[in-house]
């Protein structure tokens, strides 16, 4: 067995600890910006982690994952707009609608494989995008402003930056713990087995698609939660948030961090969003640098950043 204290585990522990104490640093230095930035990073990390569950472990290249961010967000926004402000209603609805959407999309698109699967998930996400654009009552193209964040009966105040930050962090850690349990469970082994060799799994008695579909739904539901958080973070939802470029960004975050690595999406998201923040201070053409970087990672570091860290142990 590998040592518990290998490079990647140490980095993961440091990053996790850093995320926990970050609000303290922000309070001490009065740097509010870093807290806002990392709240956003944590929410996207949760979305990326959910994508990693199907992409990294399940081998399902979904190019429409931003749809769940939008669906979760719109569930919160629309309910708030219609006067239902309680998070106890908003959030379960956000999760349920995301799950339902994933169930329908999954049942249809999981009949296909490879490029066709990518294209179908993309097509459905674009449909969701245009439906959102067409909802004139809820702002249409311009999006929907959320005037009041979800309320949880005084338990927690989402308008308080630090409390909201910790809520997001709890969701992220909870989500990763859930994914960790899943990938090591009977269910998780079946899903990973199907990624590895579907024909073999069928031959030994597994109805592969049933397991893939459930995995797809779990992933979509977790991402719907990220959507509900994101809507509360920005006090705003718009169709732009579910555009295909957003789905692409989520994929890049997963690939940066390392597909099929439990904590990889978190590292990848931090890397991606910090770099974007940094580069956009110098130039508006930041994608010109991000692109080649992605190319380098795909060409020379298949396992992403987590894979690179893993090499230190052997090297």
């Amino acid at each position: 067995m590998k040592s518990q204290f290998n490079t990647s585990n140490v980095v993961v522990a440091l990053v996790a600890a850093g995320l926990v104490v970050l609000p303290l640093y922000s309070q001490l230095t009065g740097n509010i910006f870093i807290l806002t930035l990392f709240t956003r990073i944590i929410i996207f990390a949760l979305a990326a982690a959910s994508l990693n569950l199907i992409m990294g472990y399940g081998g399902m290249m979904s190019f429409g994952h931003a749809a769940y961010l939008g669906i979760g967000g719109y569930a919160v926004g629309i309910l708030a707009f219609e006067g239902i402000g309680s998070g106890f209603i908003q959030w379960p609805v956000a999760l349920a609608v995301s799950a339902l959407y994933a169930l329908v999309i999954g049942a249809l698109s999981l009949r296909t494989r490879g490029v066709y699967f990518i294209m179908i998930t993309l097509a459905f996400a674009q449909m969701a995008y245009y439906i959102a654009s067409g909802m004139s009552r809820y702002g249409g193209d311009d999006g929907l402003t959320i005037y009041k964040r979800s309320t949880f009966g005084g338990l927690i105040d989402l308008s308080n930056r630090v409390q909201f930050y910790y809520l997001c962090l709890a969701c992220l850690f909870g989500g990763i713990y859930l994914i960790w349990r899943i990938i090591n469970s009977r269910f998780g082994l079946v899903v990973q087995g199907v990624r590895s060799n579907e024909q073999r799994m069928q031959a030994i008695g597994f109805h592969a698609n049933r397991y893939r579909l459930v995995c797809f739904v779990i992933s979509g539901t977790i991402c719907g939660l990220a959507g509900a958080l994101l809507a509360n973070n920005t006090d705003f939802v718009s169709p732009a948030g579910m555009y295909w470029t957003r789905s692409g960004e989520l994929m890049v975050m997963v690939v940066f961090g390392g597909m099929g690595s439990l904590f990889g999406p978190v590292i990848g998201t931090i890397f991606f969003l910090l770099l974007e923040e940094l580069l956009s201070q110098f130039t508006e053409y930041w994608a010109l640098i991000m692109g080649p970087l992605l190319l380098l990672i795909v060409l020379f570091a298949r396992g992403g950043i987590m894979g690179l860290l893993g090499r230190f142990n052997r090297g």
């Binding site: 349990r181 269910f187 082994l189 990973q192 590895s196 024909q199 073999r200 799994m201 030994i204 008695g205």
Partner: protein, 255 residues
């Protein structure tokens, strides 16, 4: 004669203009080792794939244990006790040998919608896997990833995976393919043991192995059965000699 465990009637499968399975009928009796031989392209693997459900026939029926399974998908047939090994090794390359076998055991232990407990720590599954691995001589290689196993070991693992599904009928598609002389001998010895417990359909090119193991042999040419009978009858069947054995007389003579 006992009721057949497997009964194939008038099976037809076309690929475009080619008849890969041409009105083929076949019975497999419980307890026998039934070998299917034939030159390359005779449609042996096509037949096996139709028996396991990876491929659907154009017409004809397949009965297994008295039940019509012609329309059942492969995962359902596996649950009824039909297991196969693949001619071209088909395992889960990024899993360990034990994982591969444990998953096969898991497939036959209720549904797998269990999301919480660590499946690698479930003792019954691990024990079943270890038993099947030991059976095929891989007991000491349980924790080795499949990609690091030798070709011979992978062939043995194929067999362990099939065994772990507790099959009634084992369909072996060229288990000796690509094996060296000693490895082949080990595989033959292993099959001699297994045939005492389970009915086997063996597709094999290695004539020596086939004539040493089989109770009955069916000869396939261009998707058709040209002869079926015990090894002696097949050895002396003129049509078989003409159509197939021709250049392999020597092997058969001392086999």
């Amino acid at each position: 004669m006992a009721d057949p465990l497997l009964r194939v009637e008038n099976l037809v499968r076309r690929f475009g203009g080619i008849l890969a399975t041409d009105n083929l009928s076949l019975d497999v009796i419980p307890g026998e080792l039934h070998a299917i031989i034939g030159p390359n392209g005779a449609g042996k693997t096509t037949l096996i794939s139709q028996l396991t459900g990876q491929l659907m026939p154009n017409s004809g029926t397949i009965h297994f244990g008295g039940r019509d399974v012609t329309a059942l998908p492969s995962y359902r047939r596996s649950r009824l006790g039909l297991a196969r090994s693949f001619q071209i090794t088909s395992l889960l390359p990024d899993f360990t040998a034990a994982d591969n076998v444990a998953l096969a055991a898991q497939a036959h232990d209720g549904h797998s919608f269990r999301f919480w407990g660590n499946a690698r720590k479930e003792k019954p599954l691990r024990d079943a896997a270890q038993a099947a691995l030991t059976r095929v001589g891989l007991g000491a290689r349980a924790d080795v990833p499949v990609s690091e196993l030798s070709h011979g070991e992978q062939r043995e693992l194929e067999l362990a995976v099939a065994l772990a599904t507790k099959p009634q009928l084992l369909l072996l598609d060229e288990p000796m393919a690509g094996l060296g002389v000693t490895e082949s001998a080990r595989m033959v010895a292993l099959l001699k043991e297994l045939r005492k417990e389970v009915t086997i359909v063996l597709v094999e090119h290695d004539m020596e192995a086939v004539f040493a193991l089989a109770d009955r042999i069916t000869v396939l040419v261009y998707g058709r059965v040209i002869a079926s009978g015990d090894p002696d009858a097949i050895r002396h069947n003129d049509e078989v000699k003409r159509a197939y054995l021709g250049d392999q007389h020597v092997v058969v003579a001392h086999g």
